[in-house]
Structure formats: C-alpha cells, structure tokens
Amino acid sequence: MITEILILALAFLGALFILLAAVGLVRMPDLYLRISVTTKAATLGIGLLLACAALHFNDLAITSRVLAIILFLLLTAPVGAHLLGRASYFVNVPMWKNSVMDDLKGKYERGTHKLSSEEKTDES
C-alpha cells in the first residue's frame, strides 16, 4: 500500500515535470530558452516515472534496467541540448529580444567554426 502511494506520488510528480517541460516548450520565447527548459524538466520527469516502474515491479533485473535508462538519459540529454544549441547559434537562430548579453558574438571563425577564448575580440 505504501509503495503504491509512493508510486502514485512519484508518477504524478514525474508527469507534472514533463507537463512543465511541454508548457515551457510552447511558451518560451526563444530557442535557447526552450532547450533550457525542456531538457532537464523532462529528464527529471522521466527519471521519476521510470523509478515508479522499478518500484512497482520490484525486481532486480528491472531496477537495473531502469537505472541503465536513467544513466543513458543523463548522459545523452545534455549532450543533445548542447549540440542543438550550438548548431542553432551557427545558423543564427535569434535570441529573445529581452536578452541581456551575448558573450559568444563574433567568437566563431567563419567557415571552420574554430572558437576562440579571447575575452575581447574585434567587436563589429
């Protein structure tokens, strides 16, 4: 009974985080913000839902499988977010109009995508 309540609570929470990510995805004004919001919220939500399954089946094999999935997600989700954000920056996906700064501007070498670490480069 207690596990059942625990499962329900976790499941509910997980679904809520996912819903949050989805709402964020729709509402956020620019791409980088959308990436920011979704990747983590969803990862957390999924983690919780999977944990429910592990609790429910209460089987070592399944628990280890769930752990493996979570591990994969933690490993891949941020990398995917990073790749997409970076690529989007290359193709000039604009930032929200209220953004306060862009330290990355002008740091990429055109064509090769070499990124410099200089604090101040020629601003244009």
Binding site: F17, L20, V23, G24, R27, M28, P29, D30, Y32, L33, I35, S36, V37, T39, K40, A41, T43, L44, D59, L60, A61, I62, S64, R65, L67, A68, L74, L75, A77, P78, V79, A81, H82, G85, R86, Y89, M95, W96, N98, S99, V100, M101, D102, D103, L104, K105, K107, K114, L115, S116, S117, E119
Partner: protein
C-alpha cells in the same frame, strides 16, 4: 572501465551469477580491447563511486532549479534576464570539461553552448543573469569546485 562494464552487463541481464559475471567480463574485455586501440588515455573510471555520490548531490540541485524555472513557466509574465555568458575554466581535461558542461546543461535554466578550442572557456546560456560576475562565481564555486574535488 572493464569492471564497470562487467557490472553494467550483470545489471542489464539482472543476473549476478558467477558465470554471468565471467561472461560479462570477457565480453567487456573484448569490447575494451576493440576500443582502447584508438583512444590513448586509460586513466578512466577509478572514481566511479565518487561520481555516483556526486549524482546524489546533483539530483538535489536539479529539483531545486526545476522548481525555480517552473514558477516562471507557469506564471503569465516572464521574470527572466537571459543571455550568453563566457565562463573561464579551471577544469582542463576533456573529461572534466565534459562533465561540467553536461551538469550545467542538466541544471534548469542553463545550457552549455560550447567550449573554446583551447579548452579554456565555456560559453553558457542562462535564463537568469542578474549580475554576470555573480553568476560566473555561482557556477565556479558550485559545480566546478565540487566536481573537480571529486575528479582530481
């Protein structure tokens, strides 16, 4: 690494028998042999356990930040001040940088965009940059410091 993979194998099959471990060991040995030829450094996962511990800490952070963002998402007006920030790095190995960057990405509201080619600077997109210096410090003192403590 080999042991880790063996462990993962056992976990996957859900069978911690002696034979299964042996088979998993042989299998991951084979895979390691296949792979290690290309990448030079072999100083991997001796710190596996520390990493797992760190993950525990991280989940706490994750939930906290999530709530923060959730508030902004749900409320009708946006309170955010987003932007891209240049963060100089103390971490210098690839593994350290990758870990740091991924953890930053996983934390809500921040996203690692890229690492400079000389591996000295990390560019991060963040939702809340009230004060740039303050933000940089929170990253360096929070994540980077803890992470390096574990990894070094």
């Amino acid at each position: 690494m080999n042991l880790l993979l063996t462990f993962v194998w056992a976990a996957l099959t859900g069978n911690f028998d002696y034979e299964n471990f042996l088979f998993g060991f042989l299998l991951s040995f084979g895979i390691m042999w296949l792979i290690s030829r290309s990448s030079g450094d072999t100083r991997y996962f001796t710190l596996v356990l520390k990493v797992l511990a760190f993950i525990g800490f991280f989940i706490k952070e994750l939930v906290k930040a999530n709530l923060e963002v959730a508030y902004d998402v749900i409320t009708p007006r946006f309170h955010m001040t987003p932007g891209i920030v240049r963060i100089p790095l103390e971490a210098n190995t690839k593994l350290e940088i990758t870990f740091l960057a991924n953890l930053i990405s996983l934390t809500p509201g921040t996203l690692s965009l890229d690492v400079s080619d000389d591996q000295k600077v990390l560019y991060v997109h963040s939702m809340y940059i009230a004060d740039k210096e303050e933000f940089i410090r929170s990253i360096k003192d929070g994540f980077e410091k803890r992470l390096l403590a574990i990894l070094r």
